[in-house]
Assembly symmetry: C2
Homo-oligomer: 335 residues x 2
Amino acid sequence: MRLSEIGGESGFLQRLHQTYGNAGESIVVGLGDDAAVLEPPAGRQLVVTSDMLIERIHFRREWSDPYSIGWKAAASNLSDLAAMGAKPMYAFLSLGFGRDESVENLDRMFDGFSDCLNRYGARIAGGDTNGCEDALIVSVTLIGSVEPGHAILRSGGRPGDALLVTGTLGDAAAGLALLTEYGLTHAEKIFKPLVSAHRRPQPRVVAAQAAARTGKVHAAMDISDGLGADLPKLCASSNVGARVDPDLLPITDPVRSAGRLLDVDPRFFAVSGGDDYELLLAVGHADVDTVLAAIKGTGTPVTAIGELTKSGVKLMTETGPEDLPPDIGWDHFSK
Amino acid sequence: MRLSEIGGESGFLQRLHQTYGNAGESIVVGLGDDAAVLEPPAGRQLVVTSDMLIERIHFRREWSDPYSIGWKAAASNLSDLAAMGAKPMYAFLSLGFGRDESVENLDRMFDGFSDCLNRYGARIAGGDTNGCEDALIVSVTLIGSVEPGHAILRSGGRPGDALLVTGTLGDAAAGLALLTEYGLTHAEKIFKPLVSAHRRPQPRVVAAQAAARTGKVHAAMDISDGLGADLPKLCASSNVGARVDPDLLPITDPVRSAGRLLDVDPRFFAVSGGDDYELLLAVGHADVDTVLAAIKGTGTPVTAIGELTKSGVKLMTETGPEDLPPDIGWDHFSK
């Protein structure tokens, strides 16, 4: 069905209004007016992030169905809030798409977006549609909250802190490499979990809140651009260095198998790959067990991979500490 | 200068952080972390809007310089908050652009965005950059606040209410028609104010807050898609009709001159044109003078153009009330 058959942009917004209009008690006015009116819980600070997915940069239509695109747009923003230890609340979704986009595809995109939000306690509070014939654009703003002063920043790391990561690294990057090499049908047949990691990442909202409640996390960020790109950002913000033991990186058997198949060192996926949406945490040595237990208590795997130092970001190798290779990880404009 | 010369995306975000990082006392953490941390004033409701500008849909690079593009992105969102009677506070800017975009252009875009925000008391609290070779994408979320229960909705209009509009209508649409016909240099030479209305609209934040303070406005919205498209939306939300006298529409002499030059009825610009960013207000008859005085007190022109009725949206003509022509105004997907 084409949008023109349901009354164009107005008709589609009305449809969204019917589905998501009265989304929750703290949403006083949701979709359908010039702006949303919200009543967040009193006495908390707001935590706000914005992130955009662009066709052919962040996803490809031939590899990601509309539901997965919507899901990933929610997940990438939820992951940023998780990295602050915040509780997600309200999401705003602005879409740009061509006039040949079907209503069914748009509905599925909103379904994926909304399902991922709901799983982590957030809801759609606003949306906007725009014509864009060049590429599908999915722009999201997500608002959450924290107890005043309890947001976990990138800047609190101290030399000697243990470095922890949740989950496993490199799954999404290996999935993307498989999709690139074999296409969707074959890649899914041989390594479905890796393809899913690329298409429908699981943000670490619950683990992050458990870690934040311990009050023992000095610094955190999410690893959306790859550990090799993101760890130096945390170090720069905290004005510290880091030393990581590549042999400690949590890498799954499927990532190792994909590495063998594609003739790639699986640690490359784990260090340079993007889209992991895992958390990187810096914790004082005396509190490591407390934080590990809190995160494991949510059913989330977590691994110590190294520590913060006074300066330099190094990988431990057989011949001693080595600098990270330059141009590692994901930066749109580094070249 | 190319982005790669200042360290790519990370370098640019760092630059933004230095310029806009500590933007205000209620911005606890601005640019530079996974998300912003905000402490809005206690006891107020939040008002949030998202709006996207896309190259070749909402602006053209040959007609709009980077400063104007940034300005318009801020203005269109400020206008949505104005329509709710809200006080603007925090803005989030997500950009998608190609790797050949110069640092100078991006700086000017942020300057225009920030200058427009600052004029109306809001600040940049977050930003995000993305690679997009197909088109320049400017996606904004703006957060403001109102006294609880004081947001002005579209849904409060009642039959018999007077319809007011701020400023003048059709300026931006006439400006766009002139740009299309003559190109930038010649269009600016003959009708600079109309070209400016298209490139750097002035949102009615101050007038809206003055009107809201009277407590006498039943309904409001901004006229960003043209009166002919937006009035029916207000009527649908309020479950009323409307009657507008086209001879009362506030149309400037330059719009009339442009109409003569282009052989277009100037009322067409005023009714079907988009991008006006004026306010449409519904006010009980007994309170019209109070609201008119409040708005005029801010130096903003305001005009009564008709009234709300029980049903139907009609233009008064010499032969009596007539339906609005179909397909009027701006809808990306109506055809």
